[in-house]
Chain length 457, copies 4
Amino acid sequence: MAVYAPGRDASRLAYYGLFALQHRGQESAGIAAWDGRSVNVKKSPGLVSQVFSEADIEGLAGGLAIGHNRYSTTGSSNARNAQPFLIDSRHGPIALAHNGNIVNAGDIRRRLLDRGVGLTSASDTELMIMDLAGRGEDDWVSRIRAAMNSWVGAFSFVTLTPEGIFAARDSWGLRPLAYGVTAEKAFVIASETCALATLGCREIHEIAAGQIVSCDAEGRVSVTGPGEGAAPRKHASCVFEFVYFSRPDSVWNGHSVHEVRRRFGEELARRSPAEADLVIPVPDSSISAAIGYSGASGVPYGEAFVKNRYIGRTFIEPTTALRKRGVSLKFNVLHDSVKGKRIVVIDDSIVRGNTIRPLVALLKNAGAKEVHVRVASPPVRHPCMMGVDMGQRSELVANVMPVADMAKWSGADSLAYLSLESVGRALGGIDDYCAACFSGDYPFDVEMAEAKERFEF
Amino acid sequence: MAVYAPGRDASRLAYYGLFALQHRGQESAGIAAWDGRSVNVKKSPGLVSQVFSEADIEGLAGGLAIGHNRYSTTGSSNARNAQPFLIDSRHGPIALAHNGNIVNAGDIRRRLLDRGVGLTSASDTELMIMDLAGRGEDDWVSRIRAAMNSWVGAFSFVTLTPEGIFAARDSWGLRPLAYGVTAEKAFVIASETCALATLGCREIHEIAAGQIVSCDAEGRVSVTGPGEGAAPRKHASCVFEFVYFSRPDSVWNGHSVHEVRRRFGEELARRSPAEADLVIPVPDSSISAAIGYSGASGVPYGEAFVKNRYIGRTFIEPTTALRKRGVSLKFNVLHDSVKGKRIVVIDDSIVRGNTIRPLVALLKNAGAKEVHVRVASPPVRHPCMMGVDMGQRSELVANVMPVADMAKWSGADSLAYLSLESVGRALGGIDDYCAACFSGDYPFDVEMAEAKERFEF
Amino acid sequence: MAVYAPGRDASRLAYYGLFALQHRGQESAGIAAWDGRSVNVKKSPGLVSQVFSEADIEGLAGGLAIGHNRYSTTGSSNARNAQPFLIDSRHGPIALAHNGNIVNAGDIRRRLLDRGVGLTSASDTELMIMDLAGRGEDDWVSRIRAAMNSWVGAFSFVTLTPEGIFAARDSWGLRPLAYGVTAEKAFVIASETCALATLGCREIHEIAAGQIVSCDAEGRVSVTGPGEGAAPRKHASCVFEFVYFSRPDSVWNGHSVHEVRRRFGEELARRSPAEADLVIPVPDSSISAAIGYSGASGVPYGEAFVKNRYIGRTFIEPTTALRKRGVSLKFNVLHDSVKGKRIVVIDDSIVRGNTIRPLVALLKNAGAKEVHVRVASPPVRHPCMMGVDMGQRSELVANVMPVADMAKWSGADSLAYLSLESVGRALGGIDDYCAACFSGDYPFDVEMAEAKERFEF
Amino acid sequence: MAVYAPGRDASRLAYYGLFALQHRGQESAGIAAWDGRSVNVKKSPGLVSQVFSEADIEGLAGGLAIGHNRYSTTGSSNARNAQPFLIDSRHGPIALAHNGNIVNAGDIRRRLLDRGVGLTSASDTELMIMDLAGRGEDDWVSRIRAAMNSWVGAFSFVTLTPEGIFAARDSWGLRPLAYGVTAEKAFVIASETCALATLGCREIHEIAAGQIVSCDAEGRVSVTGPGEGAAPRKHASCVFEFVYFSRPDSVWNGHSVHEVRRRFGEELARRSPAEADLVIPVPDSSISAAIGYSGASGVPYGEAFVKNRYIGRTFIEPTTALRKRGVSLKFNVLHDSVKGKRIVVIDDSIVRGNTIRPLVALLKNAGAKEVHVRVASPPVRHPCMMGVDMGQRSELVANVMPVADMAKWSGADSLAYLSLESVGRALGGIDDYCAACFSGDYPFDVEMAEAKERFEF
């Protein structure tokens, strides 16, 4: 995210904004700020609450700041990869933070190395900042436009320079990015609108695909008009943001995420009804869809799973032996709510398939008469190359067995997925979206993207 | 909590049990284990996930263990106060962990100091363990019984000695404590039954008021029969465990906590109905009551607040200035769910009154036509002396203004509390409960309890 | 050490004093201070420079403070054993720090446990403070005197109470303790006079065996006169303080340590002369003796070993394989100083015998024509029970072979020890000293002392 | 330093080598190793003993490693500046560590930025590695030679690549660098020969000015012959390495450092004799010169200062008030050695002049009849631009007053410096040395060097 704030408190607003975006990445956090003399940065592995002390925020004084929560797609949770990156360049200091995945990173890397640049990480973000550092155009918008035209993939990014903050979304519009203005005229850019709402922004706009937004050190904002941003491409906004990634209180591509999820639930109820006494969600991301299912079906909404909210990164996983002995930490079941009942359980998606089986078993052991699994998205069969960690193709359970076998596999009495058509209906058309994880229809050449995964530093 | 496990894994089970009890205390965590040769302990400030590494758990080998999550009633978050306490005594090593509050701590302290004991903390737990260390009875059950008869207050505790684990509840039965047995014959004692369920226990029993439960190093369990435990007292189990403290998947005094909360919601709907389009909870502790209210009233259940789950102890609170500017981190609202609607918002309780006003404002700003606050418990007017931190009498908002003024104060169109009679109805009688926070009717002499608060080390 | 300072800076003086005493113990450090309202303590494993921050020292405000560097005789480097200990007692708060070893600790422990006291460590210091806590006498000097009369062993200790600081040495006078006054009238007590000199004390006195020194919160000092302290015993001050333990700039039992070491060197030169070109010390503790040897023999003084000063506790020891390959970190040799020369190398003592052999090899490899080892103390054959870690009897190399074989064992051309008679001559008589490590003539019953070593908590 | 070791233990040898070089830099430490697949690095602020755990060393497996202790000339003790630097380049991964100071860093920086390189630090080392990354020559020796010819200043450096380790000294020969081979055929490069001796090297050679040394992954060593290294320059090896910087057991420019210091002492005794009873050093760097002075003058050698070896970076400096009150931590004096005597005190050099005055005062207060200061180097009047932190010109006390006034200023009865002629005599000629700190005769254009100091990132 990025902030211009009159006065010196940009990093403090960024800190609170990062809290609202913590669900997008828990590996590392960082903030860079321009104090009028130099760019300072603080970043390290951990949650926002662990990375920053009051002294850190005070040390990041200034009217311009950018921040980042890192989400790891590769497992390389290296301190070296924490963002924002900061370099000195012939255009002065630059800090950059990035959400997404550059698909032609290999090409860019070779181009930079051939120019004599040394690279310190395997991060796309370093490639982006080094590419910008070498651009010869006269102003930042031109440099950014030229660089964007050479990049293929998902890249919503923010840049901090002494001349101002700059933000842009790739021309496919793959990942979200939005801006808003607070009552006190702070200008804020964030990956999701929920962070803008959290900071009290009133006017909130999503940045258009290929658009470049700037805000200088005096707070003057400018936005590229039609034809002024990066070269246009066929739109392909990520549909999985609706399914799982975004917070329900965000707006994505003009739609309320909660509302879309609710509609997913309604579609499910219509296409895959079940005779039942209770509809329950797998907390927390399936609550909206479960409410939609309940409303459309008339089956009462209830809760039956209690989720343990204290299980995080440093948790010591139970051994298989303990698991077999019934140690079940993430979810416990409310026996009285379930006993003797026919239950519809709504899950937002099934990716690797690790969660749903033990949950069905918990319900059955608690005395549920019937369990009907309804999945509020289509089967995930293709890995994401644009920044969501879904694992390898062979890890996706929908590639391992036909859907018809999954009810039995899961232990449920029935199991049904939402269809891609239903997704389209809920969204009023799916043409502008990337649904490659469901359809295999990637916006770019897949081979290029998969090749990148093999690169290692 | 306490564990006997055949083999050497008692501390690992305790670790998982503590995760399920983390909501009862986040200040410090600790485990003590008997390895057949010595008692080892690891404890420090922080969450269970922060305190223990795999190496720590391996270092706490043995078949007997006790564990503790500390909840701070006084704000003294001192490493010195972390539990379990461990001492060497003439009866050999003793470790002890305790949940509650000893009301006659001042008397016990003076008695111990006069005996020539030196004390290292202001903790009740140290008083309890030192009192046990000096008891002359022949066996542990007799020592524990004698000590319990000299203690006044809430004390659910577990003790670890080379001879076994021992657990007991005060004769008033103020705080919960239960035991269960897993399929592999591990014997587990925990503050709430949810931890027993998490560990896969099948037979689960709540320990009776005044009862003493033992399990020796070979797993032989014994339980005091009628008249064999501590001297009987009038029962006074904490009703606030139902309102807020316990996890919904626990059983307290024979009742499912979720079920009781649901009934609280039904009672509210009957006694304080509202013409409305939607019933929403304040997440997470009000969900059960909101489901109950929805069921009894026929008003549809929905969610309108998104809670930020990453805000913890090390969070830097926003300044008042930022708060005024609209920075609202803990909750954000789902505008589409609320706009133009008449909303019933269910809160489990109102103590200091810091939460409900900003939530009502969020709903109104999001365009709610009407907001009706329904509180699923009676007005809290009296501080708890038995271990729940409710603040001073003057901090309780229900002492500051009449209930009739609270709708206006909160910004809501109406505001109603559950009555104490309704609580009684939902519980099938309230005589065996302590409802002092609502009624001011304490099970002990209040002056003694308040005097203790002034003690400082 | 202990400090009374007018104003609030007692802990700061203690901090600097502890630096001057760091050579006496590197395991843990701690300071306790009385701020007029409560006793605060900060202690943890590590060097003084690692344990205390400026904020710690500021948090330990007050006019009275005691401090401690812990030296581990047993290897149990537990945070639990860090000093000072602090308890609340019927006489109010007490902090205590101790240097030495209580020989009848087992008896005291049993006595305390029988009184119903619980103990949290295996430390003598806890026994001492708990014993004092239970004493019924009317004032601190009386309580301390009574307790001292029940303790057998080496115990130089300081105590902090709201009424003042108290210090005493055991009646055998085994370990040093001295006091002094600065120009600004701060009153300082320290294990060695070098710390008093470091703090600018002018009048410096060693505390007499059995004497009790007090200084109240207004700086009024009192000292027990003849017959007023603990019951008298045959004096037995530690002679090893001269050999190795004390800093050369301290005064012990009225003698300058440097001066005594110099005389040890002179005695060696007279009794065990060698035809040589150069006298060199094993740095640093043998420098004084080498200067003495050079002066008395006329053989020029030089240096040939360079000691690596950065090797500390956290150093990863080279494997035996690496050692055999010639990796020699602690000492390197100055080839030009040694080549072709006949060298006398002075070592302060030989205990386990790990150092001298590789040093002789270094000299020989560097081309020394002859190497004559001269040890500035008698053969160490008996373990110390009074607080110096010399290892087990079987680890002492002088018990493994006759002195006549040691030249060959060490690789030297000759090897000679100082005789106990020479030690006596250098000190003007040895009757008032404990030389048990040389003579086996302990001031107490050995069996009792050795029994204690077997105790474990 | 750099190590090739048959097997996988290169980093372990580097670790021990860094211990022997710790005196050259205590700010940060780091090691990079090539494991046959990737280059791994571990570096952070702190001493070698603090930075590396056994697990770190095991994680740095491989046959090739380089290591570094950072010495801070500027006070910017930033983690970002820790060495070795590691980048990926078109020539593959490169790690580099450097001792010295590049005088034309500004020019190199501009050249790199113009090429489009982004820089992450203000470090010379990053400039060097980025410059090498962009070189187009076919092999590493050619790239290094070309780069060296564009660099002005002091730069002894080591580089690690999958093809081998490379090391070179600038053509002025300003800073030391040497190599050796152990009995097991490990090949070791280190800043000082003392580290080679410590690791058991037998054949030890100093690398010549401008020479480039290589060792490939199979241990094949090659060394540039005459005319094959960097372009020749007038030799200017640092004379201050003899005065203070090097360890006495090192050989620098063919001379034993201890031996040279001894000769400095002899020269001093001849040119600036004093009637005295005792010659004492300021420990530890003046011991060799004091021994030389004693030998040449016949005045007996002794020790009078005890240095506190525990005062390091994290030490809380005493306030001026405490200092005035006589708190004197770094040195204490042996009163008996000094009282009534005429003392010659040898100091290796006087730079800012903070040390000698309090030392003279200590001697006088201890009763010295006369104190004669003899400085074993000429007056330091010019800041070093080649990597030794001597402070600003105005901080050098020899610029503040004439030498004739310094005896009085210091409190001594006489004070004399070694002359530059004497230095030359002790070294057998001074033409090949840089003595700019004494003479102001820099090997390069001073303005360029001073300009660099103003650069900041």
